[in-house]
Amino acid sequence: MSHELPELGRFTEPSLYILVSLSDGPKHGYAIMSDVEEISGSPLGPGTLYGALARLERRGLIEALEPDERRRPYRLTALGATTLRTQLERMRGFTRAALDRLGEARS
């Protein structure tokens, strides 16, 4: 199984936010939407949210739990957690390298 975030086109960034949102426990759609808005500072449209959820579920990165009335919570799978960690570590490396270069440019 790949630990890369799969090619998801315009859903790549929302998917990353959703994985981050689910990293501290299961959430349903509205809770994910509110959490992502808090994390990113910009709202996630309902169509984009469910487009990303369907992609993540299909790829085994998240899984749906039993519905709580009409709301269905989702949780991160082991593969999703590993994929998220890989992606975040890559971004951390990128950020570190970029800041180092910025520091060099200023000094």
Binding site: L5, P6, E7, L8, G9, R10, F11, T12, E13, P14, L16, Y17, H28, G29, Y30, M33, S40, S42, L44, G45, P46, G47, T48, L49, Y50, G51, L53, A54, R55, E57, R58, R59, P67, E69, R70, R71, R72, M91, F94
Partner: protein
């Protein structure tokens, strides 16, 4: 709202409709949210993602097959645009109470289909933009509405001009997000600026239509062929997706 959700494929609705409606009940969408739902429905039809559906996952690196198809359709639209201009500049000259002008009605169906195919290509480009590309999405929305109006009423140059501004925003946004090459973006934007300068002067009354001769308003429109070429080429070529955008802002 149920009308919008009815646009989603049946298997998607069977799987997600209940929870989706619950979400919308908790957080009713604004106009941008409704547009997002509409785009989501188009996406769900173009890329079936429901777990257990029989559609094969897309190959990870090659351009998506549907995008290539839409790209070729857009290029066909470009040929129709050329045909439109040829037919429009070969109609009979009419002299009546309105003055001397060329009868261009025969070009109207070609004009309509050419614009619809360009609009289809623009929607495909907008669907592949990252979530934060609001300018591009707004541009696509404006371009599709104004372009549709222009397709039905070719004499409304202002509608065409607004559509041109919209597709320019889409091209710049796609370039900014790393989805388009600079050549494709420059081709489209350059064509729009050069092509619309004279018609915009006529539309805003700065240039008298008669001063351009019988076909003076049609010929600058030929430069706009670049829009069909740029959109079609970008869709067929495809681009690798990246989380980091050209502006370096990262995920938004």
């Amino acid at each position: 709202m149920t009308r919008l959700i009815a646009l989603y494929p049946r298997d998607w609705r069977e799987r997600y409709e209940v929870e989706f409606l619950a979400l919308l009940a908790e957080r009713p969408p604004d106009p941008a949210g409704r547009l997002d739902i509409l785009l989501g429905a188009i996406d769900a039809r173009l890329h079936p993602q429901v777990p257990g559906s029989h559609a094969a996952p897309e190959p990870p690196t090659s351009p998506r097959r549907w995008a290539i198809r839409v790209g070729w359709l857009t290029l066909v639209g470009g040929l129709l645009w050329v045909a439109t201009l040829i037919v429009a500049t070969n109609g009979p000259i009419v002299v009546d109470g309105w003055g001397t002008y060329r009868e261009r009605a025969a070009a109207a169906p070609l004009f309509f289909v050419a614009l619809i195919l360009l609009g289809t290509g623009i929607v495909a480009v907008a669907l592949d933009l990252p979530a934060g590309a609001r300018l591009g999405r707004a541009g696509a929305y404006v371009a599709c509405l104004s372009g549709l109006l222009w397709a039905f009423a070719p004499w409304l140059l202002v509608a065409g001009l607004i559509a041109g501004v919209g597709i320019t925003a889409v091209a710049l946004s796609a370039w900014e997000a790393g989805r388009w090459s600079g050549i494709d973006a420059a081709l489209l934007v350059g064509g729009q600026i050069i092509g619309w300068t004279l018609p915009a002067g006529v539309a805003f009354g700065l240039v008298a239509p008669g001063a351009l001769g019988v076909d003076g308003i049609v010929l600058p429109l030929s430069v706009m062929l670049s829009a069909w070429i740029a959109v079609g080429h970008a869709l067929i070529r495809g681009t690798p997706s990246a989380v980091t955008t050209r502006s370096g802002n990262g995920p938004t």
